[in-house]
């Protein structure tokens, strides 16, 4: 891809993210054709709360995906035909958020501030020196006077509200138009049904959630180019930008780890349960040993090891982004290796139970081979456990990243993540007046993601609960 002067330059984790997206689509297509998988999902999509949570998750995922398409900018060198690319990799999200990215202040500034957070010594044109709060370089420079600020913010917000209401109405009309066509109702009647919430899908909740999201989005779009909505951090970077960039890190940790968990947990778990005897002994020994080692210790040791490796082999990593990415990938791997034990235990127990069930015995009486029994009978019948565990584990992993980065063994310090944001903010908590916005921003973004993931996971678990059969 060479258009617009950019070259497609994906990182390792990007490839894995693409792989996850495609396997997700593949699973969707597979589940559509298999009743036992499609039925619980239909139950999930009928729940208003689950679908609202899913909508928020979708927004997160969209931001994360936009941030997973990495590009290198073409550098134009005078008097040369050679095409040379910048050593800096930036993502699609970076390009969209260029204003936020480049508008860097000198240091801390509070949300919506137009003046710096600390007094500085300023030399006046006439040679005199005063100490005062200087105006920011970017925040609110379009204002002539500081007193215009409130009126300006209110005006921009009202405009955003008006726009989002318009979009909301338009959305209802379009949706209703298609629903009316689909159910072959008149437009008015369908509108009434929509209002009553009488449909297969919880459209009402989806529309409301959609309204809230567009409102927040539009308010940010209107305000963010002019103000630092969530303030700036120590080196003057916009906190909103940092929070948005952190989304990818969180999602990657939460989802890629499962990619490393699955092969271990699945193969070892069902093998231990199905074959029992020696195989079971060995596998149990393995995971009992592994789970006896303190996880944090193992992670800290491994992360330090990879650090040393990266430093010694710097030539393998072209850019800073590559280096940070390698460490992120390795963190996922090590979290996966320490995290498969729980799922493995669950699957072993389930396989132990299943192997005694009549239909497995019937297959054995037919002389069906072990691999076929494992793949055709055991695997589909433990699928719900895998799904429930993975979705429930996701939020735990997002939080784990924050904790690990906080204690310094998480992602690379140069990588933007909620953990690093909290880690940075920690040092300023004792300051007077306190610098609270980094912490609060990371908290809000993480809280929303984990809350929605948990709500969604709850519905998935309910729908896939085998006792419901």
């Amino acid at each position: 891809m060479n258009a617009f002067g950019y070259q497609f330059a994906p990182l390792w984790t990007d490839w894995l993210v693409y792989f996850l997206v495609f396997s997700g689509i593949g699973f969707f297509l597979y589940a559509r054709r298999h009743e036992h998988l499609a039925r619980p999902w239909r139950q999930v999509v009928r729940r208003p709360l689950a679908m609202s949570a899913a909508l928020v998750l979708l927004v997160y995922i969209a931001i994360g995906l936009a941030d997973s398409i990495h590009l290198q900018k073409q550098r134009v060198i005078a008097n040369s035909d050679a095409v040379i690319f910048s050593s800096e990799k930036i993502s699609l999200l970076d390009i969209v958020l260029t204003t936020l990215r480049v508008q860097e202040e000198k240091t801390y500034s509070a949300p919506f501030a137009i003046q710096s957070y600390a007094k500085e010594t300023i030399e006046l044109p006439d040679g005199g020196i005063v100490r005062e709060f200087p105006r920011l370089v970017y925040g609110g420079i379009h204002l002539d006077q500081a007193s215009d600020k409130t009126a300006d913010i209110v005006a921009k917000t009202i405009r955003a509200i008006a726009e989002s209401v318009a979009i909301f109405v338009l959305l209802i009309v379009i949706l209703n138009f298609f629903l009316a066509r689909y159910y072959q109702n008149s437009f008015g009647r369908q509108l009434n049904l929509l209002k009553l919430g009488d449909a297969d899908l919880p459209w009402r909740s989806l529309l409301l959630m959609g309204f809230v999201l567009t409102l927040v989005g539009l308010v940010l779009i209107r305000l963010a180019p002019y103000y630092h909505v969530l303030g700036t951090d120590k080196v003057g970077k916009d906190v909103l930008y940092l929070s948005l960039k952190s989304i990818r890190t969180g999602l990657v940790i939460g989802s890629l780890t499962t990619l490393f968990v699955l092969p271990f947990a699945l193969s070892l778990g069902i093998m231990a349960g199905y074959f029992r005897g020696r195989v079971d002994d060995v596998i149990q020994y393995l995971y009992t040993t592994l789970s006896s080692i303190p996880g944090v210790l193992l992670i800290a040791a491994s992360v330090l090891m990879i650090d040393v490796y990266i430093q010694n082999n710097a030539e393998q990593f072209a850019t800073i982004a590559d280096r940070a990415d390698a460490r992120l990938l390795f963190l996922c791997l090590i979290l996966g290796i320490t995290g498969w034990v729980g799922l493995c235990r669950l699957l072993r127990g389930e396989a132990l139970k299943l192997r005694e069930i009549d239909y497995i015995q019937a297959s054995q009486a037919f002389g069906v081979s072990h691999t076929r029994i494992l793949s055709r009978h055991i695997l589909p019948n433990v699928m719900h456990i895998i799904l429930i565990t993975l979705v429930l584990d996701f939020s735990g992993l997002v939080l784990a990243e924050a904790v690990l980065s906080y204690i310094g063994v998480g992602v690379d310090p140069s990588m933007i993540s909620w953990g690093n944001m909290i880690n940075g903010a920690r040092l300023e908590m004792a300051r007077e007046p306190v610098v609270w916005w980094s912490l609060v921003a990371a908290f809000i973004f993480m809280f929303l993601l984990v809350l929605c993931a948990n709500l969604f996971a709850d519905s998935v678990r309910d729908a896939f609960d085998p006792r419901a059969y």
Binding site: H36, D358, Y359, Q361, G367, R372, R376, Y469
Partner: protein
């Protein structure tokens, strides 16, 4: 039992204790309104046993729960009717008063004694809880009362049992404990919801006798819920038959068994397998119980009834009779035009029969399956559970051998041992002159198409994630019996037709079928690889009587058309009488008697066979039957008694029995027994 008949008149004089009037219980689910109980009225008098008879899902348990006001909330609710006990309307009581009522004036016992007792509390603690709750006794007195109750329900050594936990008791003992708990509040009415269904026949006989005795002593009334006609004839004074949420017939015991009126009841009697029906196929009730989600505009039984005519489709039959007896059927309604209610004759096709050669295809010799008991850190083997301890049997082509015994005697293990699903400890399993025990895995895999198995539970015997066609095809693929996909598809169609299922069912999942239909799919799956021998492991015991008849007919027909041999594992003697040619009676891992069905059933040689036969409830007149009641339970197969395994329970025990295990005695060429009496 004679007492029962003589007290019948006395009961007539007694006042009414429980009066249920037009009770309706509904469940509001996402699929619509489920009318579990749809307008039920009956009365139970003091000292009377009132039986509520019906197939699974007909609403009989829900009736009991409605009386106790224990209908699952919030989906279920009682929408109409009244339940009066004495002068109190239970449905008007506050929850606090109702709680005193439960276990006080009305007590209830359930089907599964295993799950009704709390495993972490001692037996005594669980009974004393009920005593303290419903009487004003102090703790010390209450304990004495508990011991008294344990004694009353026939538990030996109550002082020791008081301190024991439920897992230390056998199933029969647990049910006795449940009865003791129910009796703690000295109830006027005892609701027994299938109290003996989970128990073996010999234990069932003990429990039924106990309930009878208790009733005589305390004068309480009993509402007895069951699906078993035999049990009903043993215990009930009056009987109501439920079908799809309604009572269709009600009568006193003698009238009921003498002249059943409703077509459904009559069909139930006809579909019971018995010896004198051996050469004919059983009457079956076609189809299934209608879904309780439907709004009925006619008789609920109309689709399955041989007599149904226009009127039955068009109008709902009314109750003909009074509170004492009656029937809900247009045939007995003079106000309905009876002109065209001739029974529809169902023609049965005669299928080609394969005449079996009589060659022995399975010869099991001294088969032993022992499970090691491992203890301690190093898993040392400290003993063996001798589940199967030297079983020998022979099956000829086209014949059925029934393996009969109580639960825990090792009959299922024999089946799995023959199939090599469990590795036998020793012995020989000769199938067509090849010893399966010593075969290597590959040869064994090739032979698997010849021996197949059908399981008891039709719900767990099919993978819920696979479509019916994949389930049936699995064996064919593994055994490579068909070459092409097209051939396989046509074979699946053929098999579905053979077992009487529509061809379009192959695209559906197991959960869309009823128990009987599932069992048919399982039979089709087994037939797919053209086996010579099918091991049927209690294939009908999870099914209702009417459905059981369908499956038994099918098995019999398949045997005739395909020349199949069956090893029929069961505890139900009436099924044996109907289906089997030979029978082997098993007790604690060993066969105690073996012979042709007629000989064994008419002249049982072993005291255990005798006891089994007499304990099985039948419809025959009780007064002429001399029931041999066995004391105690099946001993543990880990520590069998010395000498003859049956000696602790044997009514004819001799000194010798306690010392040596008896040798096999050939009574004649076909009939053999292991007993010192012979």
């Amino acid at each position: 039992m004679d007492a029962k008949v003589t007290t019948a008149n006395a009961i007539e004089q007694q006042e009414v204790l429980l009066r249920v009037d037009n009770l309706k219980t509904q469940f509001h689910t996402s699929r619509g309104i489920l009318r579990a109980v749809d307008g039920i009225s009956f009365e139970v008098r003091k000292g009377e046993t009132f039986a509520l008879l019906g197939e699974s899902g007909c609403g009989k348990s829900m009736t009991a729960l409605s009386i106790m006001r224990l209908v699952p909330q919030p989906v279920g609710r009682i929408v109409e009717g009244s339940v009066n006990i004495g002068d109190t309307d239970l449905l008007q009581l506050s929850e606090v008063d109702m709680r005193a009522m439960r276990g006080g004036r009305i007590a209830m016992i359930f089907q599964e004694p295993q799950s009704s007792l709390n495993p972490v509390l001692t037996v005594g603690d669980q009974i004393i809880e009920s005593v303290l709750c419903h009487t004003s006794l102090k703790r010390a007195q209450a304990k004495a009362r508990v011991l008294e109750l344990l004694d009353a329900v026939g538990i030996p050594d109550p002082a020791r049992r008081y301190k024991e936990y439920p897992h230390q008791l056998s199933g029969g003992m647990k049910q006795r404990v449940m009865i003791a708990i129910a009796l703690a509040g000295e109830p006027e009415l005892l609701i027994a919801d299938e109290p003996t269904t989970a128990l073996d026949v010999t234990i069932q006989a003990q429990v039924l006798e106990l309930l009878n005795d208790l009733q005589r002593q305390t004068g309480m009334a009993m509402l007895f819920i069951t699906h078993d006609l035999g049990v009903v004839s043993n215990i009930a004074d009056r009987i109501a038959v439920m079908y799809a949420g309604q009572i269709v017939e009600q009568a006193a015991r003698d009238d009921f068994f003498g002249s059943p009126r409703h077509p459904y009841t009559r069909k139930l009697f006809e579909s019971l397998p018995r010896a004198n029906k051996r050469d004919e196929s059983l009457a079956v009730i076609e189809g299934n119980v209608p879904s309780l989600f439907t709004q009925f505009s006619g008789c609920r039984f109309v689709d399955r009834c041989d007599y149904a005519w226009n009127a039955c489709h068009q109008s709902v039959p009314r109750w003909l009779g009074d509170e004492e007896s009656g029937v809900r059927c247009h045939r007995f309604d003079e106000t309905v035009d009876q002109s065209d209610n001739e029974p529809v004759e169902k023609t049965s096709q005669v299928k080609t029969q394969v005449s079996p050669s009589g060659a022995i295809i399975l010869d099991v010799d001294m088969l032993k399956v022992h499970f090691p008991i491992q203890k301690g850190l190093l898993k040392r083997t400290v003993g063996h559970v001798k589940a199967v301890d030297g079983v020998s049997l022979k099956i000829a082509e086209g014949r059925t051998l029934a393996l009969v015994g109580e639960s825990g005697c090792g009959k299922t293990t024999v089946g799995k041992g023959i199939l090599q699903l469990l590795k036998p400890t020793s012995g020989k399993v000769d199938f067509n002159n090849q010893d399966l025990v010593t075969l290597d895995k590959k040869t064994m895999r090739g032979l698997r198409s010849d021996i197949q198995i059908i399981f008891q539970d039709p719900y767990s015997s099919m993978n819920p994630r696979m479509m019916v066609k994949d389930i049936i095809a699995e064996g064919m693929i593994a055994q490579k019996t068909v070459a092409t996909r097209a051939e396989r598809d046509s074979r699946i169609d053929e098999l579905l037709e053979q077992v009487g299922l529509p061809v379009d069912s192959k695209q559906r999942y197991p959960h869309e079928f009823s128990g009987g239909q599932r069992q048919r799919i399982c039979i089709a799956r087994a037939l797919a690889v053209k086996p010579k021998l099918i091991i049927c492991d209690e294939p009908t015991s999870a099914l209702d009587v009417s459905v059981q008849a369908q499956i038994l007919n099918l098995l019999k027909e398949l045997q005739q058309t395909h020349g199949l041999a069956y090893l029929f594992i069961t505890h139900d003697l009436s099924v044996v009488e109907y289906l089997a040619h030979d029978v082997a009676v098993m007790y604690l891992g060993r066969i105690v008697e073996h012979g042709p069905v007629n000989t064994v059933f008419n002249k049982p040689a072993h005291p255990y066979t005798e006891a089994l036969l007499s304990a099985a409830p039948t419809l025959d007149d009780e007064s002429q039957r001399d029931i041999i009641r066995l004391e105690g339970d099946l001993p543990s197969p880990a520590t069998p008694p010395s000498g003859c395994y049956f000696n602790p329970r044997c009514p004819k025990v001799m000194d010798e029995c306690r010392r040596v295990y008896p040798n096999k005695v050939e009574l004649n060429s076909a009939h053999s027994v292991c007993c010192h009496l012979h």
